[in-house]
Chain length 484, copies 2
């Protein structure tokens, strides 16, 4: 089987938006329901408070994103949901009214596409919510409900809101707020398939799938892919799998996964032991620190784990709404964050920025990682500038996007690799040590000897001995280079 | 102010459909969710069981309704709702999936309109349900909800499903399943107004308003009327008010109400003391029996209560989903039911048949009054035939629809009145006694002396004495006449 993934993703720079926290539109049309009370935009986020971000606000920010070099947005859920993160879907066919409803969404899709920005949505298909119609009917009618088979009911009565009694139905992670679909029921399965199709018809460019490994019904994701790609062969399907996703990345299911397997060793390498263990999460525990050799080994393994066509459409990231922000996890160590970001933007697969990371927004684990996007006066312009620079380089040099990946040197604190595409070769070097480091290595296999410093500060020296090229680099403390 | 009500209603014959119980489509398109379990169609209805009627089934029955002479359908609620009667609205913008969803509804509207059958929907705007999004958000987020002002919250925590603790919010009739909107909140009010407008735009011909007297916000129904009539001046707005509705029938709010004030004396007159008191309900208590004189007095009062333009667009009925079926309330006394039905079809205002009454369907109070519409082999053809005949007469003679109403005689068990329009005069006579009765009275004011027996069996004799016409009728026991 020939594996085929969307070309646009290979060249994309994603921006992950948590819609309640990114932007509030300066104007909202009639019929946009005004919340009677909202949490302050700059107040510390709470588990249940809403801050009132909406899609009208995102539309107003598209120029900012375009200017930053963003080519695609991944929205955490935007369907009608009685939770600020909207992972508790109430209605899969409605955009949340606080976000502006379906009207705002259509305006957003049009505006984004006009600017050549793609949009993918978060599909939460493992579980719904207590208010979701078909489950709500079971709550209301008990054994009389005609939709019993849509969920996993174990007995009567159900106790949806009173934790002192048995729930009597399956909730995801035993959370009563998240009744789990019975995917073995043909009706529920078909319902989800149709939701998937509907929004592709409405113009979205792909789906990010929430906890897809929880759905174990044979053929479920294969059918999903087939039906989605039948409508738009270039639709992107990316799963939230934090670990080895070989099972799902065989070309018949997802185009990629959220690449936490890239994030973890990358952070462990650049940050050493700076990562605060209380910021770890699920499979995201980048400690203890690792050497360049260990990093090289992990990256090699990762790049061998899935087919190259899939590698190019992985969704690479350093943090997300599900983790603490990296700057906070690293105790404010800005240099390490910058090094990780260099590695992010030079890795095969689409880099994804968690909204606000590019202006230095901080935040510990959920809900703190979901703060309101800061006002301009609060931006860290140095952080913004290196993001601009890295995005710009990635967008400028095809080799950084789809070029092959060759490790040139990995010793102690210094890691060097090349990305090569046709005549273009880009060399990336990272020194995580607090002292400057000099490294010298042969570059066999490289067709050229790039020596133009695109990013960072270094001494670059090429030597040729017996038809073998050697590159000597002197890299300042905790810094990274891109040479092209 | 000139009061204006829809002309089509003055000439309409309504048929009230309880959608879960009328008909199941023989075919349903893909995407119609098949219930995993349903109550048997002919089984005694339970409070919570669904029988699975749908709008595809109604479409297949339109020819039957057309043939019967029906010109308008009043649907009890069809919006998405986790209850078989669907008065617990979950989503005001979706037709219930079991009914076929919005797709089936659009097909129904088109098919009905092609047959010149109007469609009005039941608008339940006093309260919503626990699953309704804006209330569900309050259940999910408590004081953090941005929609608190949409409902009437009294304290925390809410207890929506556990009756042993205070609900802490207002439910209609203290029913926790029915959270009452805060109509004083501009947002909630606007939301309801937009729902009203939306479905008029979708092609419905009017609204039946559930418990509208409960909404006491000044100007609410005036605004509703203004906005609905702005879209379709001929839209019908009929309130569910069981008692003196003068307050709402001033021409600025409703075109009419469900005319239980007609039903009650009519039943008390035709049935004498046969009405079973356990079948009474709210303001619907047609006992003790009354004489023709008392009936005449009550009808006169009723006809003086509201302007004539309103009288012509009242929604007249004998029973409904909210009462026992008349045949059952009267212990199976078919003759009395027929007499009441004659009075129904000869009264000013639009008569409304509760589905199944026309084929003799029985049923005690809710939920028993909501049985599955019987298979043809179970129909009482005698009942069906007199319905056909009465509907046909009403549709044939404009005087029965919009003619003035003049009581000619009311003594003991015999009640006689005339409906006159221009040159057309129709005389209706009812004898409730178990013996035949002879009556003789002057018909001053009548411009003609009709003597053709359109309905019933009688001896008719006109006499003229000193330029005064006298009509003598001999009416068989418990029977009615229509003379034209």
């Amino acid at each position: 089987m020939t594996i085929k993934t969307p070309d646009w993703v290979k060249n994309a720079v994603f921006y992950q938006i948590f819609p309640d926290r990114f932007a509030i539109g300066s104007q909202t049309p009639k019929g946009h329901w005004q919340a009677s009370s909202l949490e302050g935009w700059d107040a510390t986020p709470t588990l249940q408070g809403y801050k009132g971000g909406n899609l009208w606000g995102v539309i107003e920010k598209l120029d900012y994103l375009k200017d930053l070099g963003i080519t695609a947005i991944y929205f955490t859920p935007i369907f009608q949901s009685a939770s600020n993160h909207r992972y508790h879907t109430h209605d899969y066919y409605q955009i949340d009214p606080m976000l502006g409803g379906n009207v705002a969404f259509q305006a957003l899709i049009e505006a984004a596409h006009q600017k050549d920005i793609k949009v993918i949505l978060d599909g939460v298909f493992n579980h719904a919510s207590r208010g979701f119609f078909f489950f709500n009917d079971i709550l209301e009618n008990g054994p009389y409900s005609p939709w019993l088979d849509w969920f996993k009911i174990h007995g009567w009565p159900l106790s949806a809101y009173d934790g002192s009694k048995p729930a009597n139905y399956e909730g995801w992670l035993d959370n009563r707020a998240l009744p789990v679909f019975n995917h073995d029921n043909e009706q529920a399965r078909e319902y989800i398939m149709q939701v998937g199709e509907y929004w592709i018809h409405q113009g979205i460019d792909g789906w990010r799938l929430d906890v897809p490994e929880e759905i174990k019904t044979p053929g479920f994701w294969q059918e999903f892919r087939t039906r989605i790609k039948a409508i738009n062969p270039e639709a992107y399907i990316v799963g939230e799998i934090w670990f080895d996703a070989s099972e799902w990345l065989d070309g018949t299911q997802f185009d990629g996964v959220m690449n936490y397997m890239f994030a973890v060793p990358t952070i462990a390498f650049v940050a050493g032991d700076r990562f605060r263990r209380e910021c770890s999460q699920f499979h995201y525990h980048p400690y203890p620190g690792i050497s360049a050799e260990e990093y090289a080994s992990k990256i090699k393994n990762l790049l061998h784990l899935y087919p190259w066509e899939i590698q190019l459409t992985q969704l690479n990231l350093l943090d997300s709404h599900d983790t603490a922000r990296l700057i906070t996890s690293l105790g404010g160590d800005q240099k390490s964050v910058e090094l990780a970001t260099i590695l992010l933007f030079t890795f095969p697969g689409a880099p994804s920025i968690f909204y606000g990371d590019e202006v230095g927004l901080i935040g510990a684990k959920d809900p703190d990682s979901r703060r309101g996007f800061p006002r301009q006066e609060k931006w860290d312009l140095e952080v913004l500038n290196y993001h601009r620079k890295l995005i710009s380089l990635r967008n400028q040099y095809p080799a950084l996007r789809t070029g092959n990946y060759q490790i040139l040197s990995a010793e102690d604190s210094v890691y060097v690799f090349a990305r090569s595409l046709e005549q273009e070769t880009i060399i990336v070097a990272i020194n995580t040590d607090s002292d400057a480091q000099r490294v010298n290595f042969s570059t066999s296999g490289l067709q050229s000897t790039p020596s133009h410093l695109l990013y960072g500060d270094a001494q670059i020296s090429w030597q040729s001995v017996e038809e073998q090229n050697y590159l000597e680099l002197t890299i300042p403390p905790q810094s990274g280079l891109i040479i092209g």
